[in-house]
Amino acid sequence: MSERAPSTGTSADRSVIRADRLSKTFAGRTVLSEVSLDISQGEIFGYLGPNGAGKTTTTRLLLGLLRPSAGTALVNGHDIGRSLEARRQIGVLLEGNGLYDRLSALDNLSYYARLFEVSDVKARVAEMIDLVGLSDRKRDSVGTFSQGMRRRLGLARALLHRPTVLFLDEPAAGLDPEAQKLVRDLIATLSSDDRITVFMNTHDLDDVQRICSRVAILCTGRIQADETLAEWNARAEATGLVLTLVSESSADEAARALEELPDVSGCTIDGKTITVTSSRDLPTTKVIRLLEAQGIELHEVRRAKRSLEDFYLETTREARTDD
């Protein structure tokens, strides 16, 4: 299977997942606060955040498993919690795979196929088992499967009834690199060819960079960032410098001087190397002149491309500080 670019979800696309000022409080403790999302058809939406940030709560609210304390959550224009028919349109792969250990792979998928009233159950189940490469184990009980095999079968289960919206929680968790690629390619193909909308809870930043068209970061129950990957890539290119000094002894002094500059949000020192992060494009000439004025000799200056990991860590750190 070839890698394909996911849909970028243009403004002309239909809004498929919509959360409007969604909040959830458990026993007086606010877990989610005024989360708003608008995800278009065919988008692959990466939902990032540290453990306990409220990602699972958001997913459960969107799936209608929890009632919001305030705000609304709609999928395909429906409150999933109230509409059985609307649930036909969604596929879910949660932390557990939704599989019964004592039943065979075949029985597991056949059961779900019947619940979703899939036409020609036998053929569709065989097709999906084949798709995830488990045909030779289809009659074995799922309890004998490895974690990766269960995950693959769980994905086949989620796709069985041809959903238009897919909710995935760490889809590649427990998979070997080959299976990870299979799952990634499959998700990308579903988005680009079938225009399936994917909402993906994940900690895997590599997966996000490879297949997501949009990323949101949730921390302390609030959305801290929500950007398309193209927007994020443009910002990542524009900000930050990596300076290599001639002498390690002047690194502290250089960092202090650099931190005085407007727009510089921080400096990290690693030996003779200083990584400067800034909220806006930082002119290299300005930096060079500043250090020359301080009598600090520079060996090299280059643009730093912030990784998604840097962006994620900065965002969550700032959110925790503000909180």
Partner: protein, 231 residues
């Protein structure tokens, strides 16, 4: 109906896949059947008409229902499959009903089998086949499944409603009072008198009322309650 049938079939498959539990349940039915036959025929008389076969079938049915209901509801929650299932186009009541039916079928069959074992062994020991009276037959075929459904339904409701820690206690809370009530009924009016139509009607009415109550209770189950009490 297709979805309900699918749930029943799948739950029956799950019950049968747990061979240990099936074997223990079958062995228990056989054991109770044999013990009741020995007790009833040990007094030197042929099996009396009022012999509490109704009691045997009720006890076996309840015990098996308890075992199977624990498997189907508790495991569904413990493994977390319930969360995925709640995202499918089935209502909570359909899911609950499917599981209850799947528990009632084998539990009632094993209760019937235990009664047959008692009759056969009684006949072997006395050389005389005693066919149970009409009310007793109706009890086995109608009241026992209703009581089984009540217990399975109550278990299902409680196990879905409560957290895992509380779930460990509900077996005692539900099983013992029901068992004691039936046993008391067997020792009292029905154990020493002919199990007639009046006994059948009283027990039948109690069973229907309890099942109705369970049906009403099931309306208080919510997806949120289930999801927030997952382990």
């Amino acid at each position: 109906m297709t979805r309900l049938r699918s749930i029943v079939v799948k739950e029956l498959k799950e019950i049968l896949a747990n061979r240990y539990s099936v074997l223990v349940s079958a062995a228990l039915s056989l054991f109770f059947g044999v013990m009741f036959a020995i007790q009833a025929t040990g007094r030197g008389s042929p099996i009396p008409q009022q012999m509490p076969i109704f009691l045997l079938s009720s006890i076996v049915g309840l015990f098996i229902s308890y075992t199977f209901a624990s498997q189907l509801f508790y495991r569904e929650k413990l493994s977390g499959t319930i969360e995925t299932l709640l995202c499918s186009p089935i209502s909570l009541r359909t899911l609950w009903a499917g599981k209850v039916i799947a528990v009632v079928l084998p539990a009632s069959l094993l209760a019937l089998a235990a009664s047959l074992v008692t009759i056969v062994i009684g006949a072997v020991r006395t050389g005389h086949v005693t066919i149970p009276s009409g009310p007793v037959i109706c009890h086995i075929l109608l009241v026992v499944p209703l009581f089984n459904a009540t217990l399975a339904g109550l278990f299902g409701f409680a196990q879905m409603l409560l957290g895992m820690r509380e779930n460990r206690l509900i077996g005692i809370l539900f099983f013992i009072p029901l068992f004691a009530a039936l046993y008391g009924f067997g020792l009292g009016p029905a154990g020493h008198a002919t199990y007639g139509w009046s006994s059948f009607l009283i027990l039948g009415a109690i069973a229907v009322a309890l099942l109705g109550l369970v049906g009403v209770l099931s309306r208080f189950l919510s997806r949120e309650r289930i999801v927030t009490t997952l382990p």
